[in-house]
Symmetry: C2
Subunit: 299 residues, 2 copies
């Protein structure tokens, strides 16, 4: 940064400017079913066959495929019959609908919901609140009412959450020895209004980041009350550094919490404080080095 | 790519998914005037002073500033009075409005026009045509009528073009010895309908990429007719590799031509063919390694 070379030609600024083009090329290839068709075909295909198979224009599809090659999401082979395209291994595993590690649903949620909300990022920063009203014409006072504004939207969001879990779940669950806990309750649903059953371990996966401190304390107090003695609560969240200087992904997700919810991403100390205020103690923190980290508190 | 590590955790897929978040954080910090305020202040400022100075929420601004730190567009210093933010050198040069190399206008064009059009990338690929009609409700048959649909839009677009020229112009003009040409005409305006004056050198900067082959041939024939003997034409364009396997930036811009125009990015051989079909010869190609390359043809 700041070297003469960077100042002569601002590579990172060009790269950041192109960020949304890259996201949309990948999302669109997923949405049109490019990776699924290539997986099913079992052999490399020319662009016109892919276009025909997906009812797309040959001219548009050819350019999309070439951009995917540039992004290393596809590989191309020049043959006597012309260019033949095939999936890279990473696309087979993560970008096809049928793969157990498919990220297809979270991509569709990003592409068709989050992308639109982020058109209003400047308004979100000015006003300090989410932008569901501007983006979708639904009230932003109840962010989950807005997110779940139709069955289709709710399913998209939930399928998206599952996509993320498929790549981060194992590390998070391996962060601590959870074998002492035999009764585990994965918190979900309308937990501010519904009663919470007694259990030994409560998993709150990406729940607290949706809410402000007051609502988090209210929810944790309710969990503490239901929790059996010796039990605990496992928070699955993306942790900010204590000085909030990074990681950059978590900073970006905290901006997304601003645009879409009433919450924010927090540091390990902030989560510990919330847990302590509800009565939990012996707090342990484990960073996984991936998207989601783990914080364990005991009753 | 394809290593076991990549397959366990798809770093590039996460990175590509976050691309639009990164673009929008940078665009929004520009739009709200963060870099201008910090340049003018001449000293590092706390987040609440920046929020107050820009009439933004303190909570939203703090998160935006931290994300800019993560992206190395700002630097932060922890002091007794709390965190103080300042521009990095690259932000002073490229992201402030007043800098001679400012990219502010192209960013605003990207953020408020291109970003919206790209919401319809899947439709553009399906239909093989630009998406002005869906994005802005204006007819897509005349892409420049659509781009210049208001004086404000036209000024935004032109200021954006100037931003790019300020970082790439020098390399492009230094690509060939242009000193023999004393009468130079920079083609712009309504060149399909207006007459083109006689000159020794015509510069067509990012013009041919907006049009299909037929229109390009038509325009080049008109230029050839006007051109003095011994004169020439200089094309300033971003060149694709001959096998279209890259560069990835040019592939992305070719997708943008699909979404926004009737044109595409081309290879050096494709531009040479267009020039030859209009009568130009002695074609020379110079890649600059930056966004825009140069192709010179002689009459």
């Amino acid at each position: 940064m700041g070297s003469t070379e960077d100042l002569d030609y601002p590579q990172i600024i060009v790269q950041y400017s192109n960020g949304f083009l890259i996201s949309k090329v990948m999302f669109t290839a997923c949405e049109l079913g490019v990776f699924d068709l290539l997986l099913e075909s079992g052999k490399p295909l020319p662009s016109d066959a892919i276009a025909a198979g997906l009812s797309a224009s040959t001219m548009g599809m050819k350019r999309l495929l070439d951009a995917c090659v540039g992004l290393k999401l596809l590989a191309v082979e020049m043959t006597q019959e012309g260019a033949l395209y095939r999936n890279t291994e990473i696309s087979n595993v993560y970008l096809t609908k049928s793969s157990p590690k498919s990220q297809y649903h979270i991509m569709m949620y990003y592409s068709n919901t989050v992308y639109l909300c982020w058109q209003y990022l400047a308004d979100a920063v000015r006003e300090g609140r989410n932008q569901y009203e501007r983006a979708f014409g639904v009230s932003s006072k109840d962010p989950f009412g807005a997110m779940y504004r139709s069955d289709e939207e709710m399913l998209k969001f939930m399928a998206g959450q599952n996509s993320v879990w498929s790549i981060c779940g194992r590390d998070v669950l391996a962060a601590f020895d959870l074998s002492p806990f035999t009764q585990i309750y994965d918190l979900g649903g309308d937990f501010f209004n519904d009663s919470i059953p007694a259990a030994e371990l409560y998993i709150l996966s990406k729940i607290l980041h949706d809410w402000d401190d007051d609502k988090c304390k209210q929810l944790l107090a309710k969990v503490y009350k239901a929790c059996k003695p010796g039990g605990g609560v496992l928070l699955v969240e993306s942790l900010l550094n204590e000085d909030k200087s990074g990681p950059v992904e978590t900073q970006l997700y905290s901006m997304n919490m601003l645009v879409q919810t009433e919450g924010k991403e927090r540091t390990a100390a902030e989560y510990s404080k919330l847990l302590e205020s509800a009565g939990f103690g012996m707090i342990q923190v484990k960073r996984t080095g991936k998207l989601y980290d783990a914080v364990l508190g005991r009753k």
